[in-house]
């Protein structure tokens, strides 16, 4: 991703909830074909504290149809995707059988990165160590209210990219992009060389372009999952991803 960013490309990381449908891995290929630079794969958890209504519903639906961590990773292991994958899940899933075991399994499944929104900077030591040992890049998150010195530490400690949360709230679609979100992107870019992606509430190509103005790219989740939940297939949703790609490239 760093290479692509350095090549002047605005990065696009679309999201899909693992297990949301029988053909959920098809979304990965379709996203990659539509111009994704990496893909965030949500590993569903029963109590997704930081997710809004859309991703909650997706998690609930995936769990109801029997989705398990082991099942998802086995499926990913058998499904090479053209772009890097980062798993997003919650601490309890990570720690259930030990963080080291979990990271090893990610690596075996070919997953490149890991995002755990309820393991903040102060609690990250153990997980960071075992992720590095397993060869998994642990992506840290920063928020608009994170203090300046802490932002620098987060940026330095994060691997893969730095995830800038644009809003004080849960995942979900919103209009516009706040000044504080742009400031967050700018600040994070000043700390170190890793790509800075903004996420939470970015849904339209216009917002994506706006975000790309003060960061290296965006994560888009809820607007895509809303389409998936509405029954739209990989090819249809990939159309939206392509539109986001176009928005970024034009921006």
């Amino acid at each position: 991703m760093r290479r692509r960013r350095d090549a002047g490309r605005s990065l696009l990381v679309p999201y899909v909830t693992a297990g949301i449908s029988a053909d959920w891995t098809d979304y990965l290929h379709a996203y990659a074909d539509a111009g994704a630079d990496a893909i965030e794969v949500g590993l569903p958890f029963s109590d997704p504290m930081l997710d809004g209504a859309t991703i909650q519903e997706a998690s609930h639906r995936a769990l109801s149809s029997g989705t398990t961590t082991a099942g998802v990773l086995a499926r990913l292991a058998g499904t090479p995707v053209a772009v890097p994958l980062a798993v997003m899940t919650y601490a309890n899933i990570v720690f259930r059988h030990g963080a080291a075991t979990f990271c090893d399994r990610l690596a075996q499944a070919g997953v490149a990165g890991l995002i755990v929104p309820d393991v903040p900077y102060d609690e990250v030591d153990e997980l960071s160590t075992v992720a590095t040992a397993a060869g998994v890049e642990l992506v840290l998150l920063a928020s608009p209210v994170t203090a300046p010195t802490r932002l620098r530490r987060i940026a330095e400690r994060s691997r893969g990219f730095v995830y800038g949360v644009t809003v004080m709230g849960t995942t979900g679609e919103r209009t516009g992009l706040s000044d504080s979100a742009r400031a967050l992107g700018t600040t994070l870019r000043g700390h170190g060389s890793r790509p800075v992606l903004l996420g939470f509430g970015i849904s339209s190509p216009g917002q994506a372009a706006l975000a790309a103005g003060s960061a290296d790219g965006v994560v888009v989740a809820s607007s895509l999952m809303r389409e998936v939940l509405a029954g739209r297939g990989p090819r249809e949703v990939a159309g939206t991803v392509a539109a986001l790609r176009a928005g970024l490239d034009a921006g």
């Binding site: 809004g52 209504a53 769990l63 309890n92 899933i93 309820d118 900077y121």
Partner: protein
């Protein structure tokens, strides 16, 4: 709160500054004699502290031991919840917040929060599972009567666990003006520690009162029920440096210590009821207040190091304990509190509680709120034998 391998602050980065601000705010307040005096005055003049320790004379005689009851059922709003809530509300006001957020299951913590908010002129928003709202219509009404807004939570199991999650989500959006008033010794640091400190008054009063009531000055065993575990944490705080045995009694259907596994929920690491994949399980207990899949991290730690024990009792034993205390002492305890008593009834006369020993049980709340549920149990139990003195099976 860090308690051995448990506790911590497992929250999104967006909540970290609020938790830090709360920690420093609490440290400053707790070190301020004026704050402590103001809280003590409010607890005395408004909430009815100190609560008595009642010698349960008739039941003691029947059981062959000395049974003392710490009477949190006599506080304003009817349970120990008020101790914590007044502390947090006064702290929130001191920190310039204008709104309290609270989660609630059966409604006790919600009512207590609404009460404290009204008293201090704060807004109050209570998150409550939609299913719990239907089951506890009266408590919803009480909160509204007290001026609170009750938000129906329609996610997941639509009960306490989901209300906690939703309250955390809500807090993220309004950290500047709102304080999240957690109802038990759970949540991210500093909550488990801070709530225990606010509940410490239970144990410290009881310790002094036991000194006056017992020839040996100290009870041999100290017992309290545990859901999240705040009344137990407050009680144990008064006796942890004595040689009294500490017993926290869980509901068989929500026994996080004996049936859970280490995990992370609602911002802290502790024993959590979960399946092999790490998905959180719903707890099931006759008492809504213990229907929670986690347990305060300090309890997980006390179990770890062997300083406290956490047995569990069945719903049938709990109903039997309510009847027994009502008929021998004229006290109808909350179903939650009856868990502690149920263990005493089971253990009395065994090596666990030998004849002649002295036992302090914290009655965390009064049973008035459970009337409708007990009536329904009796109705159903006409067949199954529940609510008869010889009740044996699980009554639901």
């Amino acid at each position: 709160g860090r308690f051995g391998r448990f506790g911590g602050r497992y929250v999104p980065e967006s909540l970290v500054p609020a938790c830090e601000q709360l920690e420093s705010g609490f440290r400053a307040a707790w070190a301020d004699p004026a704050f402590r005096a103001g809280l003590a005055r409010t607890l005395a003049l408004h909430a009815g502290r100190p609560t008595p320790v009642t010698p349960a004379l008739r039941l003691s005689a029947e059981l062959g031991l000395t049974l003392l009851l710490k009477r949190e059922d006599l506080t304003h709003t009817g349970s120990h919840k008020i101790n914590n809530v007044l502390g947090q509300a006064m702290l929130a006001k001191r920190m310039g917040k204008t709104r309290l957020l609270a989660e609630t299951g059966a409604g006790q913590h919600g009512v207590a929060s609404a009460t404290a908010a009204a008293l201090l002129g704060l807004e109050c928003v209570v998150y409550m599972g939609e299913r719990d709202m239907r089951r506890q219509e009266l408590n919803v009404f009480r909160m509204e009567l007290l001026g609170a807004t009750v938000v129906a939570v329609r996610n997941g199991s639509r009960t306490l666990k989901d209300a906690c999650t939703e309250a955390l989500r809500g807090w993220v959006t309004q950290v500047d003006e709102a304080h999240y008033c957690v109802g038990s010794v759970m949540g991210p640091h500093p909550y488990p520690w801070m709530v225990r400190e606010f509940q410490r008054v239970v144990g410290e009063e009881a310790r002094q009162q036991c000194a006056a009531l017992l020839p040996q000055g100290r009870p041999d065993v100290v017992v309290a029920c545990v859901g999240g575990g705040s009344n137990a944490a407050g009680t144990f705080a008064g006796f942890v440096d004595t040689d009294a045995r500490l017993v926290g009694v869980e509901a068989a259907g929500g026994a996080a210590v004996s049936r859970g596994a280490p995990g992370v929920l609602h911002g802290y690491r502790s024993q959590v009821l979960q399946d092999e994949h790490g998905q959180i399980l719903e707890a099931h207990s006759i008492s809504a207040g213990l229907d929670y899949p986690g347990i305060g991290p300090e309890h997980a730690h006390l179990a770890d190091i062997g300083r406290a024990e956490y047995p569990s009792v069945t719903d049938a034993e709990v109903v039997e304990a309510v009847l027994r205390l009502a008929r021998t002492e004229g006290i109808v305890p909350a179903l939650e509190s009856a868990h502690a008593l149920a263990w005493v009834l089971r253990a009395a006369g065994t090596p666990q509680l030998p004849t002649g020993c002295s036992v302090l049980v914290t009655l965390s709340g009064r049973g008035d709120k459970d009337g409708a549920q007990l009536v329904a149990l009796r109705r159903d139990g006409a067949r199954s034998g529940a609510l008869r003195r010889d009740a044996a099976g699980t009554p639901r």
